[in-house]
């Protein structure tokens, strides 16, 4: 019973947080400073997600095989490799490093 309550609270809460902005502020063009902030939310957020999904394990900061994979992927992307190729090579490098250690 408690489990289902937890699931429902998480589901409803998540949908609320996703939809409050679209429902309240949808379709309206905000003032210029707000527009500039919105344009910068994606770079800030994406960068944070990259860092957290590469260099953390729970609440610890770590440098492991993922860092090597990301580095290879970054180099390939910088030289205009397709995203799928960069992802594939990064995963292979990461997996090989894990096998070796």
């Amino acid at each position: 019973m408690k489990t289902w309550l937890l699931i429902i609270v998480l589901a409803v809460g998540t949908v609320l947080m996703k939809t409050i902005g679209p429902v309240l502020a949808g379709g309206r063009q905000p003032p210029a400073p707000v527009t500039r902030v919105i344009a910068l939310i994606a770079p800030a957020l994406i960068s944070a997600l990259i860092m957290v999904s590469t260099f953390t394990d729970g609440q610890r900061l770590v440098i492991d095989a993922r860092a090597a994979g990301l580095a290879i992927g970054a180099i390939l992307l910088w030289f205009r490799a397709p995203a799928v190729l960069a992802m594939l090579v990064a995963a292979i490098v990461c997996a090989l490093l894990r096998l070796a250690t």
Partner: protein, 243 residues
Amino acid sequence: MRLTPKAWPPGLRASLPLLLPTAAIGVSFGILAAPVLGAIPSIVMSLIVWSGAAQFGALSILISGGGTTLAAGTGLLANTRFLPMGFAIAPSMTGGPLRRLLTGALLTDASLIIGHREGGRFDISALAWAAPAQSLGWVGGTAAGVLGATAIGEPTRWGIDVLFPVFYLSLLLPELFPGRLKGSERPRNSRPIIVAALGGAIALVLTPLAPPGVPVLAAVAAALIGLRAPRHQVARPATGDHA
């Protein structure tokens, strides 16, 4: 109509590279969650909560002996980043409140990134079409994990977890270096680079200090740099958006 990939909506095509890694993370969740939550609740959770951050957050609290309330709070905190994300996509949306509500519910990290266009605009159709493959991968992966797809072992051993940061990076780099990676002739703008560096730094510094979810939410604050008007006001490109 032939369903060749070219005929598929752009958002759907853009989301396909994420199907496998999403499913792999789903398998991890299913393996970990089934003994704690039960088989059916674990799968239903992935279907209706549909958020790795919240689900892993809540689960790790339960596994470490925390109560349901703490688990719910942690899971919700992990998802607070959706608040600013929702306000970010709102100006690009059309239609009535109900339509915006339903579309907004399809928001995920990956769909925000896939739908993201220049100048803070979002392609809402691409954002929405990125949803099906992610949901399919997440729920399918969870079910496979619950049903004991332990044959492949812990999926993160295979380097699948690194697919996420590399995919995100493939969408971030053209935003930071449009001249090199998109052939765009927009004037050089170092602000996104500064904001990305700052956001990443905030997230890492706060990771050991704050509960899961808070570091990424706090990183969004780096975007507040945009409140100040750009110092070197360059002439807007003739074709630019009318922001």
